[in-house]
């Protein structure tokens, strides 16, 4: 067991899979010599050479399009979008090919690739470096969208993503990259894609979140438990599509009260779908409206204003209190 931060943990997963599977290659902008702008791909080029760790030309559609070809050719590309804010350049290849190849060919072809991308705000970065647009990917059938929240689950989920038979969008909360360390087991660990994790058991209210928001959420939950003398159930979605609504529904049936916290703007987002699933499957158990704590439906602000818009522990606590007291 070593205490790793998320960058190290993701790096570990890449090393582990590359070591044991020659078909795994890493490609993207600055992933080789530079070891990634966040150093997530550190040591890979050195260890596995230029053929397996490819510094590509600056072209996102090129990266995903050739990755699709590699996957069809029997390889397992793990490609990187340098920031999720540049991943909109690959939407046509994702919607049009990666997500469809299996179904359009009734299983004759498949595209097992992983697209890693740091996402989210809070690191005082320039425009386009702080979005949280998982909703785009979640709306595409045939694609899985995974968002880890800690070093340990990031490593385990990435291992599973690389082994997954389908295209997986792997969104890395860059704000959490170096924010904290966690024990990560020595042996290779996997976590099932499409499964949420109950991080904390409780009976008074369910708080649901994922990715970078888990940190402020945990703080808010811990403080709220004390301040409100409440037992809070906390769910970390980990995969936002396909959505583990069973975990949500089971919890809601118990607590009857829900707060969903997300970094993305509210309109047509994962939080919308979570509310809709609760409506579909557990409406009668609700004792209060599901409360959504999200970004606002404005353009992602430049960095000096961004924290004003980001759900804060204070705002989350107020939402918890309001929902418990409803």
């Amino acid at each position: 067991m070593a205490k790793l931060n998320m960058v190290q943990a993701i790096n570990l997963a890449l090393h582990e899979k590359m070591k044991h599977d020659d078909d795994v290659v890493v490609l993207g902008e600055d992933v080789g010599v530079d070891e990634g702008v966040f150093r997530v791909t550190a040591g890979l080029l050195n260890e596995y050479g230029e053929k397996r760790v490819i510094d590509t030309p600056l072209a996102e559609s090129g990266i995903i399009g050739t990755s699709i070809g590699m996957a069809l050719g029997g390889m397992k590309p793990v490609c990187e979008m340098q920031f999720s804010g540049f991943s909109y350049l690959i939407m046509h290849q994702l919607e049009g090919h990666a997500s469809r190849m299996r179904q359009r060919s009734l299983g004759a072809w498949n595209v097992p690739l992983v697209v890693r991308m740091p996402y989210g705000g809070g690191i005082r970065a320039m425009e386009h470096h702080s979005e949280s647009r998982e909703a785009f990917y979640a709306h595409i059938p045939g694609i899985k969208t995974v968002i880890p929240s800690s070093p340990r689950n990031a490593r385990a989920l990435l291992i599973s993503a690389i082994e997954d038979p389908d295209p997986v969008i792997f969104m890395e909360p860059k704000r959490s990259y170096r924010a904290f360390r966690e024990e990560v087991p020595d042996e290779m660990e996997r976590m099932e894609i499409g499964k949420a994790q109950i991080v904390r058991k409780g009976s008074d209210i369910t708080v649901i979140s994922w990715g970078a928001m888990m940190r402020p959420v945990i703080k808010a939950v811990e403080e709220s438990e004390k301040e409100l003398n409440a037992k809070i159930e906390l769910i970390d979605m980990l995969t936002v599509s396909p959505l583990d609504d069973a975990a949500i529904v089971e919890s809601v049936r118990k607590t009857g009260r829900v707060v969903v916290v997300q970094e993305a703007p509210k309109n047509v987002s994962i939080s919308s779908e979570i509310v809709a699933r609760i409506n579909d499957k557990a409406l009668l158990y609700l004792e209060a409206p599901v409360k959504r704590v999200t970004n606002y439906d404005v353009v992602t602000p430049y960095f000096s204003r961004e924290m004003d818009f980001m759900p804060s522990p204070g705002r989350i606590k107020r939402a918890i209190k309001e929902t418990i007291e409803f």
Partner: protein, 363 residues
């Protein structure tokens, strides 16, 4: 303003068999007779199949379909030169090449009748499904090419087809650039048929040739008479050999013409004249190939007749098989959205089946 010229480039044009059937002896390739006849037969099959599909479409027996009539040399000849290890990454206007590489006519018919069964992988052959997003497939070709190199598959290349219109898309640019940098074993074949739906070639791009676009990536480019089977043979062979021998990618501009509508949903009289189309009729690749076979003295009318009737019988049989197949199940789509199944899709499938049952009960 005087400046120092530092780099010079050129683009060549290749024609061997002109539209009058005259052969350029210096350039004439040595092609075994049976290969010549086989190439011709495939071109005829492609033509006859297209014509049949047009009929089927008019009768409402298949859906929208984009014929490749007039372009047979541009795609069938390179396909004939491919081997089992090669990959074909096509667009949507080279059914003939698909058949040559192992797809069945039945499959094409399923495809054009809107069934996923038409995009299954033909056994023992590496043909990716039809790719409709213009230009997107050229990147897949480069990725496949990388995988061939990476996995050390010897003597293998990727052939990707696309149109003149496709060269305007960013994906084409990125594919050419990646192929150049990676020296990927890819043969880029542009079927420059002069039109992208209603847009004529000269409004698509200001460059006088498509071939010169290779210069931007240091990818060798050549402009070929795409209705000349011999020129296509020589150019494709050289490009395939270059790719297979580690020489990297090639761009072939096959100058040809779309003799028919863009698709059966299109009315070309809105944007081009009969005269233009008529002008291309004498350049027909089938006529030219037949002339060459006659010139080589290995073909006659009786052979032509026999071959045509054989080909038509094959097509008849395929259409029969196609129409005999029924009972396409819709619920199987739920089984192929992902490689593993998530319970939410299981729930949806159950709902789907229940709704279908109710629909039938009420209908």
């Amino acid at each position: 303003m005087p400046k120092k010229i530092t780099n010079r480039f050129s683009v060549s044009y290749l024609q061997i068999l002109d539209e009058n059937g005259k052969v350029d002896k210096k350039l004439e390739p040595k092609i075994p007779e049976e290969d010549l006849i086989s190439m011709y037969r495939w071109m005829v099959l492609a033509r006859e199949f297209d014509e049949r599909m047009l009929k089927l479409q008019r009768q409402g027996r298949i859906g929208t379909f984009g014929p490749s009539i007039g372009q047979e040399a541009a795609h069938c000849v390179p396909a004939c030169l491919m081997n089992e290890k090669d990959w074909m990454v096509g667009a949507f206007r080279e059914v003939g090449a698909r058949l040559i590489r192992g797809e069945t006519m039945e499959q094409s018919l399923y495809f054009y009748n809107g069934y996923e069964e038409g995009s299954e992988k033909p056994k023992g052959s590496n043909i990716l499904p039809v790719s409709i997003i213009v230009g997107a497939q050229t990147l897949h070709a480069v990725g496949v090419g990388y995988s061939l190199k990476y996995r050390n598959v010897k003597d293998a290349a990727v052939v990707t087809f696309f149109g003149d219109g496709a060269t305007s898309e960013g994906d084409f640019h990125e594919a050419m650039n990646f192929a150049g940098v990676w020296q990927a074993p890819v043969v880029f074949i542009c079927q420059n048929n002069q039109w992208a739906i209603s847009l004529p070639r000269h409004k698509q791009t200001r460059s006088v040739t498509i071939a010169q676009k290779g210069i931007a990536y240091d990818v060798p480019g050549i402009q070929v008479d795409g209705n000349d089977p011999l020129a296509m043979y020589v150019a494709a062979k050289e490009a395939l050999e270059r790719a297979r021998n580690g020489g990297g990618p090639t761009l072939i501009e096959a100058v040809t013409f779309r003799m028919m509508m863009h698709t059966t949903a299109d009315d070309p009289t809105k944007y081009r004249t009969d005269k233009e189309v008529e002008g291309w009729k004498p350049k027909d690749p089938l006529i030219r190939m037949k002339k060459y076979l006659e010139y080589k003295d290995i073909w006659n009318d009786a052979m032509e007749e026999e071959m045509r009737s054989e080909v038509r019988k094959e097509i008849d049989k395929a259409v029969k098989n196609f129409e005999a197949k029924t009972g396409f199940d819709s619920s199987i789509l739920f089984d192929h959205t992902y490689g593993d199944r998530h319970y939410t899709l299981n729930e949806e499938k159950a709902e789907f089946l229940a709704e279908q049952a109710k629909e039938t009960a009420n209908g």
